[in-house]
Symmetry: C2
Amino acid sequence: MKLYSFWRSQATYRVRIAMRLKGLAAELVTLDLLKGDQFDAAYRAVNPEAVVPSLVDGEGPVLVQSLAILEYLDEKYPRPPLLPRELRDRAHVRALGQMLAMDAHPLVVPRVRKYLEEELKLDEPARNKWQRHWMELACEAFENTVARDKRTGKFCFGNEITIADCCLVPHMTNMRMLGTDVARYPTMARIFDTCMQLEAFSAEQPMKQPDAPKPK
Amino acid sequence: MKLYSFWRSQATYRVRIAMRLKGLAAELVTLDLLKGDQFDAAYRAVNPEAVVPSLVDGEGPVLVQSLAILEYLDEKYPRPPLLPRELRDRAHVRALGQMLAMDAHPLVVPRVRKYLEEELKLDEPARNKWQRHWMELACEAFENTVARDKRTGKFCFGNEITIADCCLVPHMTNMRMLGTDVARYPTMARIFDTCMQLEAFSAEQPMKQPDAPKPK
């Protein structure tokens, strides 16, 4: 397997967690999204949208879009499962992931930050405010949901890891990078801490990626 | 079943299409997102994120997030199926839907347009430019993907309707409302026209909703 990755990408982190949970190893091909590697013609042939992640799994078309890849991995490599069995519970887990991955993350990706800077001429404080606003708004909705849902357990859904946790941990990692006070979201902070005790989450974190900036 | 809806919401249109394809009827509860109905405490108790759609299907927790709802409907009411059988094909269909529903739509929803207007003080032309920019960028990636993929047929995937079509039609409907030249995306425009021949797509279109503005 071959995974096209960028150390700071939340979407790729989701996929790395799921692969590690399922015991799958991939050759990592890193792109620097801040330098624009994703716009090279060679990469556009892999991923016409010029985003990460892209996953090559044996012969056949490249797989794109992190949530679609998570579902694929769960269908092809079902142990351990990343979705519960009951239909409403599956919908709940998927919806939790989407609250973060659909309703917050697309607003803070490099291409949007670039537009804010180059088209809208926003300075760095205004860009950071934008980013924190959408990340925090998603946290509020997510926290309100998991705090009152009886299905919440050690993890987002009961005591088994699901795709909701694969989305929560990258989101919270980004929140910390932004210097946001995560204690305002106590259930999320607790689940994050629980996940980070596990190798699948901690070993794949952005700062441990081969293309991450070296500590000074 | 009860569906919380707003006539212009792309996300709710996706769900209405899927329900109509599967022969499911729901009582429609309409909210005016432009007036802020979604922030009423009563609706927040239904949907803590204060967005549409929300679906009530019998007893049990409310279902939220359009893509999670589409998967739920397909699992609970499997005929006709909205996902192909082969794993890579399922991933492809899901990824197509997400290219539009994740990478474009979250950037143009009411709360983002509100932020652009009230926080960033963008005038209407600048807000419309923003909206067109992300909608068109997603179209370029989608068109490049479906135009070269051998699996593209009468619909996004072969000759059967999938969740990709449930995402494409609302996206293209919004493109038309914005006055964008959809002919630049010929495969998408062709699939859109094919879908709109079918009642599931045409009868559920925004302008035919009970809460749509009356033609002048």
